[in-house]
Symmetry: C2
Subunit: 209 residues, 2 copies
DNA sequence: TTTAAATCCCCCTAATCAGGTGAGAAAGCC
DNA sequence: GGCTTTCTCACCTGATTAGGGGGATTTAAA
């Protein structure tokens, strides 16, 4: 744990919630809230002045949304640890926030002590997540168990998705080019597509690869 | 929380550790350890008999390794929740375990109460992870901030990685095919590659896309 | 004012892609 | 035993592509 008090900025449009967070965070000695904003624009404008180590960021904000804010903040100040705090558990939002550089994602049913735990965790280089979010993140690594494709076809599609040509796939799998083509034809027929890009798009969407 | 005691199987080659876990888990009312094994083969053989709801799985085992075991167990009994418990924090192992269907990944510096917390969490549909593991998982969503590629080039490479042809990329970006080609030439030169597959491989490895 | 980025154009050749049609061997299922 | 799927291989065709070469212009940042 740091010997310095980490500087925290809160971006949250609900005044009561924002002030509640401030009180909680300021009640412990390791942290203090340097500023709170009800919109992302003002928070971004004052980054240089506030010098936050950690930001608590709501996603549903008036004006600029939280996802865009995360991208802007992380580009200009990559050292800032962003913790998303929102009611949304929509998977697109979660992955957009994480891809944009959020260090954690906690939902708004979080207790005061859990909020402080989350701040502790990013301070120690962790990645705090609500239980449901962690589950979504872990699930994103796993394939669809109901794939219509055979093991070999999946293998071929994986190589196709790596940009390999028919002949390269054939080489990798120690078969002839005609065999690779044959697999691809069957993949197209099963997925009801007519090109590499459609096949990869469908396979990615349905987590077949 | 369930009204039934969840059935737990432990796969762990260190006898003392395995028996320690059993004692801890059996000391709470929600769970009981139906069996413990010092290798994956025996655990897999007895799946039908043991009917575990949750398995605690070490990765470094004599004979079959834990990753292969996870894949086999998840294929035959997808309802089983697997919690990896290992000393390894190697990123390849973590992602292999998660891709294979592990529900959680905790490292061996975990306290007794944290172990029980992890079991509680999978019981409630969560995905328990050690702090470092969660950080690795979240980091896997984020791009390399030191990419040599321009924003436009990254965009082009992303489309290329989706299997799109030069002309499709041009259409998507509302430019001519020659422009798309020009970007791709620059990408190849910057990445020092000479084909789609090499570019995608390098970009994926270095998280440029 | 030099550099990088983004756009566009021409030429070239070998290779690729997608479709059709057909077929043999092995494995699994009822 | 018969059925289906899977994996393997082959030939044909026509349109497109990929990757390389050579340039050029405009804008914006350093």
């Amino acid at each position: 744990m740091s010997y310095f008090r980490s500087r925290i900025v809160i971006v949250e449009d609900n005044d009561a919630v924002r002030e509640g967070f401030s009180l909680i965070i300021n009640s412990v000695s390791n942290y203090y809230v340097v500023n709170g904003y009800d919109n992302a624009e003002d928070a971004i404008k004052n980054l240089k002045k506030d010098k936050p180590d950690i930001m608590l960021m709501d996603l549903e904000l008036p004006g600029m949304n939280g996802i865009d804010a995360i991208n802007i903040i992380k580009k200009s100040s990559p050292h800032i640890q962003l913790i998303v705090n929102t009611i949304y558990e929509n998977s697109d939002l979660v992955f957009q926030a994480l891809c944009g550089g959020a260090s954690g994602y906690i939902t708004k049913n979080t207790s005061h002590s859990e909020l402080l735990d989350a701040i502790d965790e990013v301070t120690n280089g962790g990645a705090p997540m609500s239980s449901k979010i962690a589950k979504m993140v872990v699930a994103s690594f796993q394939k669809n168990p109901n794939s219509p494709l055979s093991a070999r076809e999946t293998e071929v599609l994986e190589l196709l998705s790596k940009g390999k040509s028919y002949s390269m796939i054939a080489q990798d799998l120690f078969v002839t080019k005609e065999t690779a083509k044959s697999h691809i034809k069957n993949i197209y027929s099963k997925l009801q597509v007519h090109s590499k890009s459609e096949a990869i798009a469908k396979a990615t969407k349905e987590k077949l690869i």
